[in-house]
């Protein structure tokens, strides 16, 4: 039989972008420790709805840790206390009975709060758009071995491509910098033969868009790497710094 725990939740409630937010305290009773964090919020929302209170709004989609939609800050840590885990994959067994959890949205000027824990991360989409296209031949799918790619470059690109664009890096960075996100997105194309022709423009345009959106500057504090649910290395930021220097 599964264990049950009781929790006290201090949740950030904010009606819309314009309104002033505040913390509300709720009790989460008889929470199954095998539940994910989002399932726990579902249970709390059911009881809130039954008692006529507006349920807590939070972003979610796949609940498998691969879409990058969910995310909140739990007791000051983006995606909660576990490393390499999205909020949907964080299970309640990692919390103690009677514990108080302070649940906040990802905070940054570039991530305006839409409602409660939902934030607008469309700045990330605009950075991706600024990156532009890659040069590939249209027509039939090419043979898998038509373009040889060295193993170290494949590994590097795949590590970077693991970025799900959740925004935890921005949320965790003391400067609200998006360097890890931009570095991962630029990096996974910059080293591959398919991405090399536009490497220079991609690097400069993505960084320019990042700056225009109003993200902060990286000061090498590496909080982003610790908060990243895909554990993307800050070595990618170093690579972006190098690519940008060479492209300028």
């Amino acid at each position: 039989m599964a264990n049950k725990i009781n929790l006290i939740l201090k949740v950030w409630r904010q009606k819309n972008q314009e309104s002033q937010g505040r913390f509300e305290t709720y009790k989460a009773l008889d929470i199954d420790t095998d539940m994910s964090f989002l399932e726990m919020l579902d249970v709390v929302n059911e009881s809130l709805t039954k008692s006529g209170v507006d349920p807590i709004a939070f972003d979610h989609d796949c609940r498998e840790g691969i879409c990058g939609t969910c995310g909140a800050v739990i007791n000051g840590q983006a995606h909660g206390p576990l490393k390499g885990t999205t909020l949907c994959q964080l299970h309640m067994r990692h919390f103690k009975d009677g514990q108080t959890l302070v649940i906040e949205p990802f905070r940054a000027k570039t991530f305006p709060i839409i409602k409660d824990l939902c934030v607008d991360r469309s700045a990330f989409d605009r950075i991706i758009q600024a990156g532009g296209f890659i040069s590939v031949k249209t027509g039939q799918a090419p043979d898998a071995h038509a373009v040889p790619v060295p193993k170290d470059k494949v590994d590097w690109a795949m590590d970077a491509a693991a970025c799900i664009g959740c925004g935890a890096c921005v949320a965790a960075c003391p400067n609200a910098s998006a360097m890890l996100f931009v570095a991962a997105k630029a990096s996974h194309l910059n080293v591959l033969p398919q991405g090399v022709p536009e490497k220079k423009s991609r690097t400069l345009n993505m960084v320019k868009q990042m700056d225009q959106e109003g993200f902060g500057n990286c000061s090498n504090e590496y909080e982003c790497e610790a908060a990243c649910p895909k554990e993307i290395s800050v070595a990618h930021i170093a690579r972006l710094n190098k690519d940008h220097r060479q492209a300028s």
Partner: protein, 225 residues
């Protein structure tokens, strides 16, 4: 597709300017300490070193102005970056301050250690560099000992020494983050070398802070005048 070839306003370019000027200042800190250690050789050795520097004439003036310029660019660019960072973080902060990553005290204190050092450098210039080297502050037992005398008289005052040592502790903290940060900002991050560089950065910072702090401690507790 259009893009600008060189964007001075780019966050990365600004960071690299800070890193490059920081590197110049790191070299200055090393050479300055090497020179200061002549104090252990007594008044003749120390004042001899000061005279050798003065003999450089125009070269010394160029080096001083160059340092002022580098120092100014380092501070101004950092100030811009810090202001942008404050804006980006926004007014709302997390209710719980609970870092998940490796954010160290040195990293956390960078803007504060830098600000203290900035104020300290101004005071240090007035205190030693622009001091009257033959004036009353240089006199020990009725004899003028030049800059050696100024330094010894200054560090015989415990408060003076304490302010100096605090500044050197901040210098150590600043260097502990700054030295390793330089390489990351210029694009060098390697599984093998980065851990060594981080370690070196810490040892180097301790060595610099200890080296500089040893001088007032020597004057206060060892030197008999």
């Amino acid at each position: 597709m259009s893009y600008q070839t060189f964007d001075f306003n780019s966050s990365i370019t600004k960071k690299q300017i800070v890193a490059l000027t920081g590197l110049v200042l790191i070299f200055f800190v090393v050479f300055h300490l090497a020179g200061n250690l002549f104090i252990y050789g007594g008044p003749a050795a120390f004042n001899g070193y000061v005279e050798k520097l003065d003999d450089l004439g125009v070269l010394k003036t160029i080096a001083e102005w160059g340092l002022f310029f580098v120092f100014g660019i380092h501070i101004l660019t950092t100030a811009f970056l810090v202001l942008e960072n404050i804006q980006a973080r926004g007014i709302s902060r997390y209710a719980v301050d609970n870092s998940k990553g490796p954010r160290s005290l040195a990293t956390r204190l960078m803007p504060y250690s830098g600000s203290y050092l900035f104020l300290y450098v101004i005071w240090h210039l007035i205190d030693f560099s622009w001091a009257d080297q033959q004036g009353p502050r240089s006199i020990i037992h009725g004899v003028s000992y030049g800059l050696y005398g100024v330094v010894v008289n200054a560090f015989k005052d415990p408060l003076h020494s304490m302010l100096y040592i605090i500044a050197m502790c901040f210098l150590g903290l600043h260097l502990a983050h700054g030295t390793q940060s330089f390489l990351q900002t210029f694009g060098f991050n390697d599984n093998r070398f980065t851990p060594c560089i981080k370690k070196f950065s810490r040892y180097f910072a301790v060595a610099m802070a200890a080296g500089y702090s040893s001088i007032p401690l020597y004057v206060l507790y060892v030197l008999k005048v």
